[in-house]
């Protein structure tokens, strides 16, 4: 909570329970809403596609942040969990003819169930050991997706037909625009539910486990139930992201869910800010835009330094690594913390604090 919010006294429970208390907060949210609404009219399809990718990433990153940022259970299995969501919805819709909303729901439930199974080792493992255990789940899931031929009918990929919801079918000409609206609405719902989660006792028990699990259990928090709930909830969001990815890209193969994806998502929450819903969104947008910006820079500087455009993928990796290191050293709490500091700076101006 930014320091400017201190000193506010609530006179009713309703006022205390509101998500946004101060006028600047409401103004910012209104501006954000206007910006989000204007976006599809000002961006061309290419940039809108990037926005859509960022929105899906934001959903996945919020999910991962529930587990890593809020509950302190590190996970390297993100790519695998996304794959569970994506393949579940793709196979159900493509082969069994299940309507997309139902198959997405099934993907969410199944990914959550997988999360519970994968979360079992977390009852005994912590830190680095848990990281390796979740890494194993990533490998196992990808192995299954690659080697169990019936999943992809031996093709290695699954086609997903154009999204159709209750007779409404995405059109080709306005594909990105319509997807943007769908993804925006879902992302807002996800962000709201996740924010509210941490105002409930369940969410608070997650944070208690993160801060000190022994103390939490002494206070009566059931560690087993809390950790498994965290895995299930986190994975439900991740499964949703995976399912949306499948419908959005209309074709999925295991190559979209490798360990690189898991690491990219971890980078998103590191850069954005651990233990913050807004941070997960900032991080998702930042990491999605990073390669695009590097590529644009290379195009601009390509005339001066042709090596930039020739070795572009290498520079993209370098930029990615550099960003993570810089954030870990200078602001481990990420973009969200930087944004709070900016707000505090102006809030207290002309005083320092």
């Amino acid at each position: 909570m930014p320091a400017v919010e201190t000193g506010r006294h609530h006179t009713s429970y309703r006022s205390e329970q509101r998500l946004w208390h101060t006028r600047p907060q409401i103004v910012r949210m209104a501006l954000l809403a206007v910006a989000a609404a204007v976006l599809p009219f000002v961006l061309d399809n290419y940039w809108l596609a990037i926005a859509n990718t960022a929105l899906i990433a934001a959903i996945g990153a919020i999910g991962l942040n529930i587990l890593v940022g809020y509950t302190g259970q590190i996970s390297l299995g993100q790519g695998g969990f996304l794959a569970v969501g994506a393949f579940t919805t793709a196979i159900l819709t493509d082969r069994a003819g299940v309507p997309a909303p139902l198959s997405i729901l099934a993907a969410v439930v199944l990914t959550a169930a997988v999360g519970v199974i994968v979360g079992l080792p977390a009852l005994r493992l912590k830190g680095l050991y848990l990281a390796i255990a979740t890494l194993a789940s990533q490998m196992v899931i990808i192995f299954i997706v690659r080697r169990w031929g019936f999943l992809t009918e031996g093709q290695g990929f699954v086609d997903v037909s154009r999204l159709e919801v209750f007779g409404f079918r995405i059109e080709r000409t306005t594909f990105e625009q319509q997807w943007y609206v769908i993804l925006l609405v879902i992302t807002i719902l996800v962000a709201l539910t996740a924010t509210n989660l941490f105002r409930t006792s369940v969410g608070r028990s997650f944070m208690a486990v993160r801060d000190q699990d022994i103390a939490a259990s002494a206070m009566g928090v059931n560690l087993t139930r809390t950790k498994l709930t965290a895995f299930a909830l986190s994975n439900a969001y991740v499964g949703l992201a995976g399912a949306l990815l499948a419908h959005y890209t209309e074709i999925i193969s295991w190559e979209k869910f490798t360990i690189d994806v898991s690491i990219t998502y971890l980078a998103m929450i590191i850069v954005g800010g651990m233990g913050s819903v807004a941070g997960a969104v900032y991080g998702a947008v930042f990491i999605t835009l990073l390669p695009v910006v590097v590529r644009m820079l290379a195009d601009v500087l390509g005339g001066v330094a042709p090596v930039l455009s020739r070795q572009l993928p290498a520079f993209e990796h370098a930029a990615f690594g550099l960003v993570i290191i810089v954030f870990l050293i200078f602001e481990p709490r990420g973009l969200n913390r930087i944004w709070q500091r900016i707000k505090d700076y102006f809030g207290f101006w002309p005083f320092r604090y």
Partner: protein, 406 residues
Amino acid sequence: MTHSQKSTRRHSRLIASAALASASLMVLSACGSGDASSADSDEPIPIGIIADRSGATGDVGAPYNDGMLAYIEQLNAAGGIEGREIEAHSNDYAYEIPQAEELYRRYVNDGVVAIMGWGTGDTEALRTRVANDELPFMSGSFSEELTVPEESPYNFLVAPTYSDQMRVALNWIAQDAGGETGVAVLHNDSPFGTSPVADGEAWVEEQGLDIDYVSHAMPAGTTNFAGVLSQVDSAGAEYIVVQNVASPAAQLARDLAAQGGEQKIICLNWCGNELFITSAGDAAEGHLMVQPIAPISAEKPGHEAIAAYLEEQGQDSESAGVSYVQGWYTMHVMAEGIRHTLEAGEDLTGAAIRESLETMGAVDTGEVIGGGPVEFSPESHRGSVASNVYEVQDGRMVEVEAGATP
């Protein structure tokens, strides 16, 4: 009404209006952009190229890309197509599928009329997209799944599929062994690698070939294939069919030679090239290749244009490998489709180019691809079925069988 209630109401009104605004977008979505696609335009023809120059398959991807760009340069220098130059947008995606998708979206937004892709992974990942966006797509991937127009209406394969190459290899093996034998298929651990594996097994059964067929993935990033080779040995295989790119295949040949293994390696399209021979050195001797593209050393009529171009650039024509030639002629086939569309006076759209490719008849490749013409039809996007079999002798690809079909 207290202050807090008032502000709550104002607040909920705010949310409601935001929701309304976003819902109205559903209806109001904007669309479309102008283009240079009309028939009598003399604007350059934009084409998107997704290339792997620095990734896992960069060893053959870079020369393939060079070949394409060289063809375009040569074509533009000669006046382009119907007076219109080709404007190539070529970018490296390092064999990373998300990068390919990102590039693809950018090309679509730039209004390209065709896409030249590269690997099986990106070709399959973009398959439905190119169909929806109506953009003809040719790539270095010859996965059999892509040849059915109902499923992949905009994918065109200039050369025989990997599965056809595998069938030719198996036929040749059955003949060479003259009796019961064992074949181990070692493949890249990706959709590209696994593409012909099951079809090969089915072929053995279907044709009643006396072949004991096993397959193993070649672990990526390994410096030594001893483990895989011992599996090959224990399976009793006498032939190894490799579906991988040149560098790992050459490593395999060297490890095989170091172990004193007797097996014969048969390289399919992407390792059957000069790079395999130069990287493996003496270890390449006596191994075979099933390669639909004729190497420049074969001196087919179609190679003259490439040799002339390279000479003009002050380069040795021998420096062009099979992958370079393949890139050149893949681009040539697409360019011929564009030429036919323009000559027919039609608007230059993806759909029109597709129709041209399907109906314009054979494209002459001067005996370079599959020993002759590349022809598509509305029923089949399999441009060619014939491959050549080469043997490595004294560091050169020597033709042992031409125009072999399954």
